[in-house]
Symmetry: C2
Subunit: 499 residues, 2 copies
């Protein structure tokens, strides 16, 4: 056995690394189309493209990984020949901070930029969780104006509608970190001397969607037993403190005016909290002035956003239509984009605080949503396949293909072994080809070709019931060689109309 | 001093890693437009998109790096948590071989695929040489037919014309590795028992453009003293052998028929060489049948292509117009794409040889060529800038911007500190803004706004000579608030017409 194994030639495994995957055909084209649609909105809003490299120095990336539980992990890193540590970017915001710090004297201020591309996370892969995925971001650097935040919210709204999410099927929800943080400071629960971690409080509040009001109350105080029977430790607030936190969380009223009044009542005299509510009110007014009603952008005090670096307004775009989850239960599709204001990222490089705000769209989740809504033509358009009846006349077939392509019709000649004609039709089938072109020696002599409607051929027995229909829609027809382009175009149009 | 240094806070350097760079605004958009144009041609030819991840296992990538002098180096690699070595892909062909081997039972055969994206090389960076750059490839896997190679050549020709290289400004040159390799084998200069390296011979022949016929003769035999006085070793052929090799290299005739006749004469009875010439003749005939004349695709025995893994036809797209190099000397722009047939890449995984052929376009070089030819609008179109005269009326200004954007006009409100109006116009200038919109309290009361043609304002003193012209083309005008969209659109159109 051992000797046998040694003899075996060692072949590499034909697999991507763990947690990586490939995308084929229509998947790639659909994502590309969606990214083009998104960036066209970003561009119309005055944002300029930036493409930084996939690789950054580890020191430039810093320790701002979204997963705050493991701030030092999560990146793919290695050492350059001169011992500098390099890493693949884990998001598009950290590179923006580096680029802005590097070019701040040449870039306009404020600097509106968009970026799109893959990011990498060195995390444990799971079902649907990959270690490389796309982001598509828009950020405004260099202004503290709430108008920048309001603009990001309207940008998000316009973008979702442009890619095909109808109004009413999404909502952009806005909150402000200062509200809860200010309250916690006033209560002595954050800042110096705090006995509990305000991160823990935020994380607990973020579970509201899952565990509800009473669940959050338990988790904020003494703990809770979850559905599986496991004991989960509480954060350690008193019941009174927990109720004050929950009052913020439950401030959402029937409209923005009511919500803002509730918040003012709930912040318990905190200056910072009051500032946060003022900012929310300003954003609400700016959105209204631009014609974005509360059916599109709404103040919602239950929005948290996990990312540690946000310092002011935070926003989240949620898709509100229902889908069936893997267990067949109805649930809302959920979040497809999020962002907020982060005022300290550039400071790491320059020592000066530079206010900034921005949003990141989860490209793959948004694509999944569009497929769910039937807004993406999931079917790829296969090419016309010119079959090869006579191997020596490849030039004739190539000429046909050229004519079709020059007329803008996607077309290819069969390049496999032409011996078995059935294999050629099977190939055309696999390619989802609408039309096959056939020219044997006999046809060549008579100056004709056969064209075959492959989609119709497949549907014939299922749909066509009378002989008249059959005659009216022949799956295969003989045409003059000179009419190839016109007749193929007609057949494709007929096939598309029939679908 | 030392104590002082210790006190200084350690800030990260705001720089990308050595050999990496950022791309801004129009550069990104232009590349994106060009990639979309290229892939639309690939798609029309029946090629399907494939996007594999940027990361592969080192064992899957193999040792096929183009730089044959250092086959083991040149990649950025690191170990995964389970000790698997991973690396950034160095081209798009090695991942294709892995993907095809992995999915060969599900993919159509032959499999035409295109791919585009960044690749990474761990090489010493230099001026204009970056360690991340774009490639855009088309390959056909699973067919030995020369029709696949001819198709790649016509694809290349169509692609160049589609992106804006006019016919006559480029040439696709085709050769076949079998010709020279076959000859070398017949001469005992390749294969088992050869005393010289056939790679060295290929590399020397590849210098023909630089050193000319006599230079290649010297380098193939005893060596040569270059312009700087340095002695360069010869490969060690006899003069007779060198002349036989040179005869191949110089076989190009007045047309393909003559070239092929010359080659048949030059291969000195080599079977393999004869096969190579047959293949070239077949490609020439297929291209002619498709209407691609020798002004677009031509047989040229001097094409070598450095890559070690080519086994048959090789091709290269060269731009033939002249540019001035950095020293002000005229030279041809040179190669922008290349490829060929490689039959052994998939075999590494499966043990079975899978014939394949394909091409890679050097995206950044082609972009440079288009800029050189003035085929790309190098100027970016800046947004309309709505200035802020009254900080408290941000909602009014945001509403204007919304109207403009909804009408498809790129527009933004000034988000910096509005105190100094001069700074707002400087900002608009930096943004290459065509039009600034101004609405002070007085205008607001009267229901009007001022719009300012910024390009015209900048040109006024230089171009406009009479007062009549000045009056006919005022750089700033007062319009009704309700006419904002129409009047801005007119002003932009006028500005574009005037350029």
């Amino acid at each position: 056995m051992a000797r046998n194994r040694e003899k075996k030639p060692q072949r590499p495994k034909a697999l991507p690394p763990k947690g990586f995957r490939d995308y084929f055909g229509a998947e790639v084209a659909q994502r590309n189309d969606m990214l083009n649609a998104i960036t066209s909105v970003y561009h119309r809003y005055g944002f300029d493209a930036l493409e930084s490299s996939g690789v950054e120095t580890v020191e430039a990336l810093g320790k701002f990984l979204p997963d705050v539980d493991r701030p030092n992990e999560g990146v793919f890193a290695w050492q350059d020949e001169d011992d500098t540590w390099m890493a693949l970017r884990y998001d598009l915001t950290a590179p923006l901070a580096r680029v802005y710090a590097q070019n701040r004297n040449d870039l306009p201020t404020p600097y509106r930029r968009y970026a799109t591309g893959p990011v990498w996370r060195n995390e444990k892969p799971g079902p649907g969780r990959y270690r490389q995925f796309y982001q598509c971001d828009a950020d405004t650097v260099g202004t503290a104006s709430m108008a920048a935040d309001a603009e990001i919210c309207s940008l998000l709204s316009d973008t979702l509608e442009t890619v095909g999410i109808p109004r009413g099927d999404y909502i952009v929800r806005v909150n402000n970190r200062k509200v809860l943080n200010g309250l916690l400071e006033t209560l002595g629960l954050a800042g110096e001397g705090a006995t509990v971690s305000s991160d823990d409080i935020l994380r607990t509040v973020d579970k509201y969607d899952k565990v509800g009001e009473e669940g959050v109350r338990q988790l904020l105080t003494t703990g809770r037993t979850d559905a599986s029977g496991a004991e989960i430790d509480g954060v350690g607030l008193t019941l009174e403190q927990a109720n004050i936190v929950l009052k913020i969380l439950l401030s959402k009223g029937a409209n923005n005016v009511e919500t803002i009044a509730n918040l003012r009542d709930a912040i318990a005299g905190s200056d910072e909290g009051g500032k946060g509510v003022d900012e929310l009110e300003e954003i609400a007014n700016l959105c209204a002035a631009q014609g974005y009603g509360e059916d599109r952008i709404v103040i919602d005090p239950s929005v948290v956003r996990g990312l540690g670096y946000y310092t002011g307004p935070v926003y989240e775009a949620e898709l509100t239509f229902e889908i069936l989850d893997e267990k067949g239960r109805k649930r809302q599709f959920g979040s497809v984009a999020g962002g907020g204001r982060y005022d300290d990222l550039v400071k790491r490089f320059t020592g000066q605080a530079v206010p900034a705000t921005g949003v990141s769209i989860g490209v793959d989740r948004l694509l999944a949503a569009l497929r769910e809504k039937g807004r993406i033509d999931a079917q790829s358009k296969g090419p016309v396949v010119v079959t090869v009846m006579d191997r020596d006349r490849m030039g004739d077939y190539q000429a046909m293909v050229s004519e079709l392509r020059n007329a803008g019709i996607r077309a290819e000649v069969y390049l496999g072994n032409p011996k078995n004609f059935g294999n050629q039709l099977k190939y055309a089938d696999k390619r989802e080809s609408p039309v096959a072109v056939i020219e044997g020696g006999d046809e060549k002599e008579r100056g004709v070709v056969q064209i075959k409607d492959l989609a119709l051929g497949a549907r014939l027995s299922a749909e066509i019931e009378t002989t008249e229909e059959w005659k009216a829609q022949p799956a295969q027809m003989e045409i003059k060689r000179g009419d190839l382009v016109d007749e193929v175009r007609k057949m494709i149009a007929r096939a598309e109309g029939a679908v």
